[in-house]
Amino acid sequence: MITLRALTKRYGEKTVVDDLTFDVEPGRVTGFLGPNGAGKSTTMRMVLGLDRPSGGEALVGGRHYAELRHPVREVGAMLDAGSVHPARSAGRHLLAMARSNGVPERRVEEVLGAVGLTDVAGKRAGTFSLGMSQRLGVAGALLGDPGILLFDEPVNGLDPDGLRWIRQLMRSLAEQGRTVLVSSHLMSEMQLTADQLVVIGRGRLLADAPVGEFLAGESRQAVHVRLPGEAARRALAARLHGAGADTEHRGGGELVVHGMPVERVGDLAHELGIRLHGLSSQAVSLEQAYLELTAASAEYTTPARETEV
C-alpha cells in the first residue's frame, strides 16, 4: 500500500506536484498516467525519500521510506533515469545492492536470470542497450522480493517480446498480492496492464478510478456528423454551441460533437431542417478519454489542431 496525502513539490515558484492525495492498493496494478512533465517521476522520487516534499507526505506500508530498516526488501523501484554507474557490471551493481540490505547474495543470480541478463552479468552497465538497462532496473526492483513495487516508464525501449514480458510480470506481481504502481504516458499500454488508473496533469490529480469506470460517462461519447456543405455545417455548429455542446471541425462537412447524446444532435439538425449524410455515436477510446482529460493540463504540447468554437 502506498499512501499519498496532500503531497506537494515546488521547485522555486513552480508547483510540479500539487496536493496529490490517493492510495495505491495491493493486489492490483495501478497505472500512473500523465503527459510529459506531469510530475509522475517527481512523485515517485518523493515516495522513495529521494526528494523531500514541499508539503504533505508519502507513505509506504504506513511508514516513511526513510524509516524502513531494509528498504530494498520492502519497496522495489525502477526509476526512469538510469541510476546505475555505467562502469560497474550489472552483477556487481546488484551484489552491492544485496549487501546493503542483507539480501542473500544468491538472489543476484536469480533476478538476473528472471530478467534474462545472466549472460551479460559481467558486462559494464554503460554498454547496455536501453532495453537491457530497463531489464537491469527491473532486476533491481525484484532483488529484495518486496511487497511494494514502483516502475517509472518500464516499457521504454523494450521490444515486443519485452513488452509482453513486462506486462505479464506486472500482472503476476499484483496477483501475488503486491502493490504495483506503474507510470506511463501511454494509455494504450496501461489499458492492457492496469486495473486502476491514476491520472495527473500539471501535478494535479485528474482521475483515480478503475479502468472500466474510466470510460463511463456521457462526456466520453463523441458524435460524428457528416453534412452536405460548409453552410450547413456552420449552421448546425452554431446551434449545437447554443445548446451547450462542443464541436470540432474535421474538414469538409465533418463535425465531431462532444457533450451531447446522438439523439439530441439529430433532433437539433431536424429542427433546423438540415439534411445529414451521416450521424453516428462513437465510444471514445481510453486513449482519447485520456487525451481529453489531460489536454487542458498538458505541460508541453504541440500546437493544438484548429478547433472551431
Binding site: A66, S83, H85, R92, L95, R99, S100, G102
Partner: protein, 277 residues
Amino acid sequence: MAAMTATEITTADERTGGGLHGAIHAEWTKLWSVRSTWWTVSAAALLLIGYTALAAISVRVQADNGGPEEVLPSAPQITTEAVFFLAQYAVLAVATLFVAGEYATGGIRATLQWVPDRTRVLLAKCAALLPALFALGAALAAVSLVIAVPAIGGAGGGFTVGEGVRASLAVGTYWALLGAFALGIGTALRSVAGALTVSFVALVVLPMLCGAVGLPAVIDYLPGIAGLNLMLGPDAVNNITGQPVPYPGWAAVALLAAWSGAALAVGNAVLRNRDAG
C-alpha cells in the same frame, strides 16, 4: 532474450544484515567494482614509487659529483615530496570520484534508495575508503623507502628504521585524512570538476596566496601544509615555507582531522537537506 515471470522467483527468506554494516559492505563493493579506482590507485603507486626512485638516483648523482652533502634530502624526505607534489592528486581523484562521481552517473539515487539514512551513507563511504587509503599510503611509502635506500646508495641524509616506519604511517594517515576531506567536499559540491578544483585550491593555491599577501603564519595551518608537516616530522624544515615545522605530529593530525571533519560536516548537511539529485 529468455525471460521468466516473477512467479518463478524464489522468496528471499534468509533475511539478515543491512544497517551500517550492510552499507559499508555495499560501499566497499562499489569502490572496487569500477575501473577508475584501480587506475587511480595504480597511478598513486606509480607516481610515488617512480618519483622516489628517480629522485633518489638524482641525489646519488649529485653526491657523486661532489654536491653539498648537507642539503641533499633523505629518502623519507623524497617520499614526502613524491606524495605532496604528485601522489596526493591520485588520492584526491579516487575519493572525489567515489562520491561526486555518483552524481554524474545517477548512482546516488540507487545509493540513497538502498540506504535512505544519508549520514549513514557518508559514514559507510568513509569506513570503506579511509582504512584502504591508510593501508595503501603506508604500504606504498614503505615500498618506496625500501627502493630509495639502495638507489640513494648512502648519499643524502640517513634515517633509522623507526623513522622509516614513522614516515610510512604518516603518509598513510595523510592519505586517509585527505580522502575524508575530499569526500566531504565532493558530497557538498556534487560535481567531480568542482570538488577537484576546490580541493586543489585548498591544498596548493591557498598556501601560495597566503604567502603572497603576507600571511605566512597561516600557511602551516592549511590542510596541505599540515599534511606536509605531518610527513616531514617535527624536526624537519618545511621546504615550502622555508621554516621549521612548528608543531608536533599529533598536532598536524589534529589539524588535518579538523579540516576533514569540517568538510564532512558541510557535506553531510548538504546531503541531508537537498534532494537526491
